[in-house]
């Protein structure tokens, strides 16, 4: 069963690692940013943190989709 599922398991594991990295990045690097953004009020910090997560996710999903499509082309030979 591992022969069929290793690729999907790998994608899930990588996605989980990315989630860890985003979280680490937010709480260890962006932690200093609110003191600058506080001048613009709560909305900016809210939107900033959230849009940052969304941005990374979108970039990751685009790369992931392109890689999967390429792998599919290679395996099915079309």
């Amino acid at each position: 069963m591992l022969r069929e599922s290793w690729f999907v398991l790998f994608i899930i594991f990588i996605s989980w690692l990315i989630l860890f990295l985003i979280s680490y990045f937010i709480f260890n690097i962006l932690i200093f940013l609110p003191q600058y953004t506080i001048y613009f009020g709560l909305i900016l910090t809210d939107l900033f943190q959230f849009s940052f997560i969304i941005l990374i996710l979108i970039i990751y999903l685009i790369i992931l989709f392109k890689l999967i499509r390429r792998y599919l082309k290679y395996k099915l030979k079309y």
Binding site: M1, R3, E4, S5, F7, V8, L9, I11, I12, F13, S15, W16, L19, F20, I22, S23, Y24, I26, F27, N28, L42, I43, D46, L47, Q49, F50, L61, F65, I68, R69, Y71, L72, K73, K75, L76, K77, Y78
Partner: protein
Amino acid sequence: MNLFYEFMLLSIVTPFIITFIITKFLIKILPKLNLVTIDYHKIHKPKIPFLGGLGISFSIICSETILYFIFLDVKILIILIITIITSIIGIIDDFKTFTAYSKPILLIFAAIPILFFTNTYDYNLHLIFGNIQISIIYPILILIAISVTANTINTIDILNGVFSGFTLLSFIPILLFLTLTSNFYMLIIVMPIVTSLLAFFIFHRYPSKIFPGDTGTLTIGALYGTIAILTDLELLALIAIFPAILNSFLFIASSKGLKEFHQIKHRPVIMLHDGQLSASKNPNSPITLLRLLLLNGPASEKKLFNIIMLIEIFAISLSIITMLVI
């Protein structure tokens, strides 16, 4: 403590028995009403009744109503309202299929009851190394999250037993967290959903005697999202349904937008003469989880069910690791 055991027994046994009896009744009555659909992944293409979700919805409504009159808690009321709304949407969708865009929009309305009871959730998004307070975006996220989870669980209903088996497993991290944190009250509220799914799985497993239909998949999906929000376990719940999210994402991205499955001209998976399933070599076929699993060669439906369960066990293991880190 004795009272707790009584309530726990009530929330485990009642929904299980109700779902079991109703589903058994539906299996007999639905074919007579011609409410059947073709099981495309079998050689002889048998006709299987498809409104099995009615049993799940009815048993959850009954059990949660009893619990509501015992505890008089808004969290139970939210679960009740969402179950009723999504069940109605699901029943209508089963008879008169909604367009791919109208279904998610309608499901957003199902999440509105949560917004009325602001004391039932906090505005923090619990990430791995801390919390982000997103007080302005969080209510909007709730609306989207319920619709997304409902549709995601809806798309994982791909083979016999996968929907019920997959969602049963994805509840494990939530149940484990509630047990470890001694949140027995929430456990009593969540158990009716899990046990009715367990009773349904008996009939839905390979070879299926009944299908849940959109009534079942949308209701359970919306309830999964609701429970994740009410227990503040959004991240754990998200990780636990990673395979379903991947399937949903690949399908939407490869078919270039939201599309109903019957709108797809080229099927992602084809059936061979010996009954085994094989990945389509057509470049225009959408990419799905099933197609990825069949890249190394054809496989039987039962084997594919086992592989998907293995993947889900891996996903819930990651969810449990995350829970331990948090």
